[in-house]
């Protein structure tokens, strides 16, 4: 758990949803819109994966072009943050709970 998940809970994401996030594709807790966004974020993040045209089309079905740009920035910037913290051993802040 971290500051972003902490904000997520403040923003309405339940503990159950946060716990299930790695299985969002199969979890009824997530909407198709959320699933598309999370799958997109995974494809951006995992080395060797790419955003396919099929996945992008699925994302576009749920988000405007403007929203897609923001979504991409969110995922890419979190990659900056989390890779930075892991490389330099920056410690968790202790928000809410430890995963």
């Amino acid at each position: 758990m971290d500051i972003h998940a902490s904000r997520g809970m403040q923003a309405g994401a339940s503990n159950d949803k946060i716990d299930a996030i790695e299985r969002a594709g199969e979890s009824p807790l997530f909407s198709e819109r959320e699933r598309a966004a999370l799958e997109y974020a995974v494809a951006i993040t995992v080395t060797g994966q790419k955003v396919t045209d099929e996945l992008f089309a699925r994302v576009r079905a749920h988000f405007t072009e403007d929203q897609v740009v923001e979504l991409t920035a969110v995922a890419a910037f979190e990659n900056f943050r989390s890779k930075f913290n892991v490389a330099l051993g920056v410690e968790a802040q202790g928000f809410c709970r430890i995963r």
């Binding site: 971290d2 500051i3 972003h4 998940a5 904000r7 997520g8 809970m9 403040q10 923003a11 309405g12 994401a13 949803k17 946060i18 996030i21 790695e22 969002a24 819109r33 959320e34 966004a37 999370l38 974020a41 995974v42 951006i44 993040t45 995992v46 988000f63 405007t64 403007d66 929203q67 923001e70 979504l71 920035a73 969110v74 995922a75 910037f77 979190e78 990659n79 900056f80 943050r81 989390s82 890779k83 930075f84 913290n85 892991v86 490389a87 330099l88 051993g89 920056v90 410690e91 968790a92 802040q93 995963r99």
Partner: protein
């Protein structure tokens, strides 16, 4: 402990003085990432501005943004 020294004294650096004061006002203390990025004040400032810009952009609901952040952080093994 992080691999570089944590900086929690802004010293004479005007950028750090401003950013540290703002963060202490918001959180009550300095975030660990801040104390590390403080080695490079322009980078700390830009990173904070980028984060703020995303929030200001505001085209996605905060819950979805937070879920995406969490998903990415888990993949990267980030405790944050």
């Amino acid at each position: 402990m992080p691999r570089v020294k944590e900086i929690d004294d802004a010293g004479a650096d005007a950028t750090l003085q401003e950013l540290f004061a703002k963060e202490i006002e918001v959180f009550g203390y300095l975030l660990n990432t801040t104390k590390v990025q403080a080695h490079c004040p322009p980078i700390l400032k830009a990173a904070k501005q980028f984060g703020a810009a995303i929030e200001r952009s505001g085209l996605l609901d905060p819950e979805l943004r937070a879920l995406v952040n969490l998903r990415v952080a888990i993949i990267n093994g980030c405790p944050f």
